[in-house]
C-alpha cells in the first residue's frame, strides 16, 4: 500500500537525510520506525505526506506517486492519513470538540455527521468528559488522546504517529500505545516512530531501524536493539 522506492533526500546544505531508502508497508500493518535523532525518521514521514519532495526516488500510496499530486489532491490525500505528533499540535483557540470538528469540516462533512461522530470518537479515546475543554486545560496525555481522536475521526486508512509518547510519562505512554494498538486491530495501518525501547519490545510488531539516513534492519516481529 505504501512504497518507498530508492528515496533520497539531500537538503540544500548538502546534509543527507535519507540515502536510497526502499521499503513497503502492507494494509493493516503496524510498523515502528526506530533510530536515534537525525536518523531520518521525520524526513521519511514528511516525504510521505508530501510536505517535502524527495531529491531522488518515488513515494507511492497505492498506485499514485504522492509527489505528482496537485494541491487539491494533496489535501484529499492528507485527509486520508491521520497524524499524531509529539507536540500534539492542537488548535489552541478551539475546544476539544472544535479541534476534532475542524478536521471533519475541512473534509466537507455535514453538521449532522460532525455532531454524531465527534462524541463517538472521543468515547473511543476515553475523553468524552473533556469535550468542551480547551487544550491548555488538559494534561499531556489527554492532549495526545485528543490528537489521536482527531486523526481517527475521518476514518483514515493510515495513522502516522511521530514520537507520540515523547512528551509523556510512562503511564500515559502505555495508554497511548494501547489506543494505537486498538486502532490497528480495527483495521487501520499504523506507522509509529519512536526511540522508546520499552514500547517496541511490548508491541512485538514489525520494526524498521534507521541510522544516518539508511535502513539498517527490518524485522517482522522486531525488538529494539542497537
Amino acid at each position: 500500500m505504501i512504497l518507498f522506492d530508492r528515496v533520497s533526500k539531500v537538503y540544500p546544505d548538502q546534509s543527507v537525510a535519507l540515502d536510497s531508502v526502499s521499503f513497503s508497508i502492507e494494509p493493516k500493518e503496524f510498523v515502528s520506525i526506530v533510530g536515534p535523532s537525525g536518523a531520518g525518521k521525520t524526513t521519511l514521514l514528511k516525504l510521505f505526506l508530501a510536505e517535502e519532495r524527495p531529491t531522488e526516488g518515488r513515494v507511492l500510496y497505492g498506485d499514485t506517486d504522492v509527489h505528482t499530486l496537485g494541491k487539491k489532491e494533496i489535501n484529499n490525500f492528507r485527509r486520508n492519513v491521520g497524524m499524531v505528533f509529539q507536540d500534539f499540535r492542537l488548535l489552541p483557540n478551539k475546544t476539544v470538540y472544535e479541534n476534532i470538528a475542524f478536521t471533519m469540516e475541512a473534509s466537507g462533512r455535514t453538521d449532522e455527521e460532525i455532531e454524531q461522530d465527534v462524541p463517538h470518537v472521543l468515547e473511543l479515546v476515553d475523553l468524552l468528559p473533556k469535550i468542551w475543554n480547551f487544550p491548555h486545560e488538559l494534561s499531556g496525555g489527554e492532549k495526545q488522546r485528543v490528537a489521536i481522536a482527531r486523526a481517527l475521526v475521518n476514518e483514515p486508512d493510515v495513522i502516522i504517529a511521530d514520537e507520540p509518547t515523547g512528551n509523556l510519562d510512562p503511564v500515559n505512554t502505555y495508554d497511548i500505545v494501547q489506543i494505537l494498538k486498538r486502532i490497528n486491530d480495527l483495521g487501520t495501518t499504523v506507522i509509529l516512530t519512536t526511540h522508546n525501547k520499552g514500547i517496541i519490545d511490548s508491541l512485538g510488531k514489525r520494526v524498521i531501524a534507521m541510522e544516518k539516513g539508511k535502513i539498517v534492519r527490518d524485522d517482522k516481529s522486531g525488538k529494539y536493539f542497537n
Binding site: L49, E51, K71, K72, I74, N75, N76, F77, R78, R79, N80, M83, R89, L90, L91, P92, N93, K94, E98, F102, T103, E105, A106, S107, G108, R109, T110, D111, E113, R150, N154
Partner: protein, 313 residues
C-alpha cells in the same frame, strides 16, 4: 472522501470560526481594533479637512466680487440697462442689482447701533447712496477683464458724464490675488498630506494584522496538515479582518460625535460659518461609508496578503 457539506454550510462555518477567533483572541483583537481605529480616525479627519477646505474655498470665492457703485443721480432704467450689458459678458456669472433704497436700508441696518450716523442721515434729508451692481465672475481670474470693461467702456455714460461712481475691483485686487494663491496651494498641500497620511496609517494597520497572523502560523501549519483547503484556512482570517474594520469603524464614527461637537464652535468662528459638527451630522451616511469601506478593505486585504506566506506548504 465524499464532500457532503454544501457551500452555504462552508460559508457559515468560516464566518462562525471568524467570530470565535475574534472573540477568543481578545487582547490581540483589541490591539488590532485600536490600531485600525487610529487609521480610520486619520482617514476621517482627512475627509473633514477636505470638506473644510472646500467650504472655506467656496466661501472665499463667494466673497470675491466687483461692486459697481453708481452716482445717486443715475436713473434706475440706466442702471438696469448697464446690468443687462454686463450680464451679456461671457465671463460674468451673476449680476445682482441693489437699488438706492435697498442700499440705504442695508446701510441703516449695518449702523443701527450708531446714533450719530443715523441722525446725520436724517439731517441730510435725502438718500446719499447710489445704486450698486454686484458682479460675480465665473472664475476669480476673470475679474480683471470684467473690471477693465467697466472702467473703460464709453457707452456706460449719461451725456458724456459717467454714471458710475467707482468700481472697487482695483482696491481689492491685491487681496484677491493673494487669496487665490493661498487657496490653490492649500489645495495641493492638502492632497499630498492626504495621500501620505493614508498610506502611513494603512501600512501600520497592515503590519498589525500581519502580526496577528504570524502568531497563528503554527495553527495554520496544523490546518494544512489535516488537509484543510486554502479557502477554509484563509476564510476565518479574512472574516476577522472584516470584523476589525467594522468594529473599529463603529467606534470611530461614535468618537467623531463628541470630537466634532467639541470642535464645532471653534471651526465655525475660524472657517467662516463652517460647523464641523453639523457637517458631520449632515454627511453621516457618506462618512459612514468612507470609514466602513476603508476599514473593511484594509482588514480583508491585509489578511489575504499576510496569510499567503504561510499557505505555501
Amino acid at each position: 472522501m465524499i464532500e457532503n457539506a454544501d457551500t452555504w454550510t462552508k460559508l457559515k462555518r468560516i464566518t462562525k470560526a471568524g467570530f470565535f477567533n475574534f472573540w477568543r483572541n481578545g487582547t490581540v483583537s483589541l490591539a488590532s481594533v485600536l490600531v485600525m481605529m487610529v487609521t480610520l480616525l486619520a482617514i476621517g479627519f482627512i475627509s473633514f479637512a477636505g470638506a473644510i477646505l472646500d467650504t472655506a474655498l467656496a466661501e472665499l470665492r463667494d466673497k470675491i466680487d466687483v461692486n459697481v457703485t453708481f452716482v445717486p443721480s443715475a436713473k434706475e432704467a440706466e442702471v438696469l440697462e448697464i446690468k443687462q450689458t454686463i450680464e451679456s459678458l461671457p465671463e460674468v456669472l451673476l449680476v445682482t442689482y441693489v437699488s438706492r433704497e435697498d442700499a440705504l436700508e442695508a446701510f441703516k441696518e449695518r449702523h443701527k447701533n450708531d446714533q450719530s450716523i443715523l441722525s446725520a442721515l436724517d439731517e441730510l434729508g435725502e438718500n446719499p447712496l447710489g445704486a450698486v451692481l454686484n458682479v460675480k465672475a465665473r472664475d476669480p481670474s476673470q475679474y480683471a477683464s470684467v473690471a477693465q470693461f467697466l472702467e473703460s467702456d464709453g457707452t456706460i455714460s449719461n451725456g458724456g458724464v459717467s454714471v458710475i461712481d467707482r468700481v472697487n475691483y482695483f482696491e481689492n485686487k491685491a487681496a484677491i490675488d493673494r487669496l487665490a494663491s493661498i487657496i490653490s496651494s492649500a489645495d495641493r498641500l492638502g492632497f499630498a498630506l492626504t495621500i501620505i497620511l493614508a498610506v502611513i496609517s494603512m501600512l501600520i494597520a497592515f503590519n498589525t494584522i500581519r502580526l496577528t497572523i504570524y502568531i497563528a502560523k503554527d495553527e495554520i501549519a496544523v490546518m494544512r496538515l489535516v488537509g484543510a483547503s486554502m479557502t477554509y484556512i484563509q476564510g476565518p482570517f479574512v472574516v476577522v479582518g472584516v470584523i476589525y474594520g467594522v468594529v473599529a469603524g463603529l467606534i470611530t464614527l461614535l468618537m467623531f460625535l463628541p470630537m466634532t461637537y467639541w470642535l464645532g464652535s471653534a471651526t465655525e468662528s475660524f472657517f467662516a460659518g463652517f460647523n464641523i459638527f453639523s457637517y458631520y451630522v449632515r454627511h453621516l451616511p457618506e462618512m459612514a461609508f468612507i470609514v466602513f469601506f476603508s476599514g473593511v478593505m484594509i482588514g480583508a486585504l491585509s489578511s489575504i496578503l499576510a496569510i499567503r506566506r504561510y499557505l505555501k506548504v
